[in-house]
């Protein structure tokens, strides 16, 4: 009975609709026109929202880039001072032995001080002399020594040489110290500023490209500090991370995706891997401290420990990305391989993995980029440290690029502000490079089915 009634109702409704359909639509009626206008407006609004969102994101990026760039670009240049240096044989090699060991021990600092005193002969008091010596960096004597060791014929000659300047002097030359404020309120006194003006007038002050920033390790003298030590540390750390997390991550993904039975246990494993990807990185640092340092007694501050710790952090990223890439390989490929007599292992190694590789590599590179920018877990295992020597291997003490940025940001000397920004620029350049490589690999090897 009810069936009958509902059938009748349906029929009635269908008739109304078909009647309406048969009636021609009046496209010019004001109601339709309003409707169409409203729809176009909604479309335009939606586009504008999207543009605003992109605009905000770009603005934030621009602000970051300009603030870092404007502060940091000056760190790639360093002030040099031209001085006449007399390579006094009595100081360098009094007995005329020509022995590099004797020359290496000579007081080159004294030579520079002597030439500064010659340049400004009216400076006599002890404290004034101390100020005077600040014009040239303490590191200049090492440059001078190398120059003489390379070319011993310099001994006895007088040469005009560009010497690296001290940090305060460099800041003045770059305009970070304002010589017009009251004398007591700035790092350099009136006399030092007058020496500077005197040297500028003589054309003896110049900014040169600061190669040392890229070739030397950390230093407490801003003008001598460089990022090479941290870059090498980052390299060894990432090497260990990659060597560990890539094979383990890919094998785990292959097993879970291709071989594991779908049961409660594998579900739990899956949920846990996804959870691990969201664990704060400091937790991995604590784990590293406990396992690698306290139990396994690996050396503190070594890239090998940093790499092992970061590998734990990168594993979930690699596993998740690899599983997605393996899942994207169509089942027909597997079926065809199995149908032609390939064993399951052959199917995976000959067909599935090569086809999934672009996705796996993209995930790995993104994981590595994450590891490159990480500091928190390294704090716990002693890689946040002042290390001057360039590490020679994964067991030598080392720091990494982001840690170097953190340490410089915390240093009182004014000149470290620009070094901090410059180091950030270098780190960002590496990150852009790695992410660019990931995009390239994806574009180049990606296959569409």
């Amino acid at each position: 009975m009810t069936d009958m009634a509902s059938l009748m109702e349906d029929r009635a409704a269908a008739k109304v609709i078909s009647d309406n359909l048969r009636k021609p639509v009046d496209w010019d009626s004001p109601k339709i026109a309003r409707n169409i206008k409203k729809r176009y407006a909604a479309e335009r609004r939606f586009k504008i929202y999207g543009l605003v969102a992109i605009g905000i994101a770009l603005l934030a990026l621009c602000m970051l880039a300009t603030s870092i760039g404007s502060k940091g670009y000056s760190a790639f240049y360093q002030t040099y001072v031209q001085l006449e240096v007399h390579f006094d044989p009595a100081v360098i090699d009094p007995d005329g032995t020509g022995d590099p060991a004797v020359i290496g021990r000579a007081n080159f600092d004294g030579l520079i001080k002597q030439s500064l005193r010659d340049r400004f002969p009216d400076v006599t008091s002890r404290s004034d002399k101390r100020d005077l010596y600040g014009i040239v960096s303490g590191g200049a004597s090492y440059d001078l020594r190398e120059r003489v060791l390379e070319n011993p014929s310099l001994i006895g000659q007088t040469r005009t040489i560009w010497l690296i300047s001290g940090d305060d002097f460099d800041m003045l030359n770059k305009g970070y110290i304002d010589p017009t404020v009251a004398e007591g309120d700035r790092r350099l006194n009136d006399q030092e500023v007058s020496w500077y003006n005197d040297l500028v007038e003589a054309g003896a002050v110049e900014k040169q490209f600061h190669t040392r920033f890229f070739t030397s390790g950390d230093s407490r003298e801003p003008e001598l500090a460089g990022i090479w030590g941290a870059a090498v540390g980052s390299f060894y750390t990432l090497l260990v991370t990659l060597a560990l997390s890539f094979p383990i991550g890919v094998l785990a993904a292959v097993y879970l995706e291709e071989f594991a039975p779908k049961n409660r246990f594998t579900q739990i494993v899956e949920v846990n891997i996804n959870n691990l990807a969201a664990v704060p990185s400091i937790v991995f640092g604590l784990l590293g401290l406990e396992v690698y340092l306290n139990v396994m007694h690996l050396p503190r501050s070594a890239p090998v420990v940093g790499g092992l710790t970061l590998a734990l952090m990168t594993l979930p990223t690699i596993i998740i990305a690899s599983r997605a890439a393996i899942k994207a390989v169509p089942p027909s490929i597997r079926q065809a391989a199995l149908g032609l007599g390939a064993s399951p292992v052959q199917t995976v190694t000959h067909h599935v993995l090569p086809l999934a590789m672009p996705g796996i590599l993209t995930g790995t590179i993104i994981g590595m980029a994450q590891a490159l920018g990480e500091t928190a877990p390294l704090l716990m295992i002693g890689m946040v440290a002042f290390i001057v020597d360039i590490p020679g291997g994964a067991l030598d003490p080392a720091t990494v690029l982001p840690v170097q940025i953190y340490l410089w940001a915390d240093s009182p000397e004014r000149a470290f502000v620009e070094k901090t920004s410059a180091a950030i620029m270098v780190l960002l350049a590496f990150l852009v490079l790695m992410n660019g490589l990931a995009v390239y690999l994806r574009k180049k090897f990606e296959r569409k089915w």
């Binding site: 404290s127 101390r130 090492y142 110290i177 304002d178 404020v181 007591g184 309120d185 700035r186 790092r187 230093s219 407490r220 003298e221 060894y236 090497l239 260990v240 060597a243 340092l293 007694h297 050396p299 503190r300 501050s301 890239p303 090998v304 002693g382 946040v384 440290a385 002042f386 290390i387 001057v388 020597d389 590490p391 020679g392 291997g393 994964a394 067991l395 030598d396 003490p397 340490l407 940001a409 915390d410 240093s411 009182p412 000397e413 004014r414 502000v417």
Partner: protein, 343 residues
């Protein structure tokens, strides 16, 4: 096969610096001593045939914990501290077989309360600072303790400017904060009769009141990064910041130190002991490691040389305030003889 070889080659490069006995001094500890210790370490590495020591900035407490964990090359040789070692820490050391520790006093560090030099310079007393920063303060009539109700400096004293109380300072984990609490707040609180009376009746509450810092926004914990505080002070002329003297020394064109008890934080005033908020800096050496780890004695010699921690040494250039000549002599002798600390 080729790939395996390449990986093997890379790995052997990575592990080239095999794990031999440690030939490098390892130092941990205070972030306040860090800039001075690193300067000495760098000079030491350049002028001697030893490797440059590795220095970690872990904070005074964290450093002493690592230092006292045991004897052996996996433990640090030296720890820096911006306060003296505590009795409990000495006992902890002894428990782990570290019976002989040499204490080396490095010099002094002033803690400054400073603001942008676009704002008027303040002249504060310790009591005024306490009233501005403590969590609980004496009520208007001085009879009871209430939550801090002061919102502007002029409410504390009409002679002070009518600006909001906003002080940026280090978090409780910092040695600077410990020292500031001890030297300013704990000293000032005894001057208020209602708090001093507590010392007799309720010692725990007395301690809590004296060391408690307000959490209603008047005191902002700005992290351990002193440069950050400096930048914030430049932007906000009403705010004051608490940090070590070396940061004021480096930023004299932007900031000015407030007078405390009528004394300005200058190099001379701190070194003469006139400026009331200054503390001693130390480092501690594990005597058992001298001889096993090469270079420790030479490092001590470098640190205690006149050209380093002396009146005109390179550490003074970095903002360390040196001790007087007689004290330096005594410290140097004690360090060179490795006279063990006794408490």
């Amino acid at each position: 096969m080729k790939k395996t070889l390449a990986v093997a080659a890379l790995m052997s490069v990575a592990f080239a610096g095999a794990a031999e006995a440690r030939d490098q001094i390892r130092i941990v500890g205070s972030s306040t001593v860090f800039p001075f210790a690193t300067a000495v370490a760098e000079e030491f590495g350049k002028t001697t045939s030893f490797k440059t020591p590795v220095i970690e900035s872990t904070g005074s407490g964290g450093g002493l914990k690592l230092f006292c964990a045991g004897v052996g090359e996996q433990h640090p040789d030296i720890t820096n501290a911006s306060r003296r070692i505590k009795k409990s820490e000495v006992e902890k050391c002894a428990e782990n077989g570290i019976s002989e520790v040499t204490e080396v006093k490095v010099g002094y560090d002033g803690i400054v309360l400073s603001n942008s030099n676009a704002a008027p310079q303040l002249d504060l007393t310790k009591e005024q600072i306490f009233l501005a920063l403590a969590k609980t303060v004496p009520s208007k009539d001085g009879q009871s303790l209430v939550d801090n109700f002061y919102t502007t400096w002029s409410e504390i004293d009409p002679s002070l400017p009518d600006v909001k109380i906003e002080v940026l300072g280090p978090p409780p984990t910092s040695g600077t904060r410990d020292a500031f609490t001890e030297l300013v707040l704990e000293e000032a609180c005894e001057e208020f009769p209602v708090i001093a009376a507590l010392e007799e009746t309720n010692k725990d509450q007395f301690k809590a009141v004296c060391a408690g810092v307000r959490e209603d926004g008047g005191y902002v914990e700005a992290g351990e990064n002193d440069n950050l505080i400096v930048q914030k002070l430049e932007a906000n002329h009403d705010a004051l910041g608490i940090f070590g003297f070396s940061f004021l020394d480096q930023n004299g064109d932007k900031l000015q130190g407030s007078l405390i008890g009528g004394v300005a934080p200058t190099f001379e005033a701190i070194s003469a002991g006139d400026y009331p908020v200054s503390r001693s800096l130390y480092f501690y050496v594990k005597n058992a490691h001298v001889g096993t780890i090469p270079g420790i004695k030479e490092y001590l010699a470098e640190f205690t040389a006149e050209k380093a921690f002396g009146e005109e040494g390179y550490l003074a250039d970095r903002g360390l305030i040196p001790m007087d000549a007689a004290e330096r002599e005594a410290v140097r002798n004690a360090a060179m003889n490795l006279s063990p600390l006794s408490m």
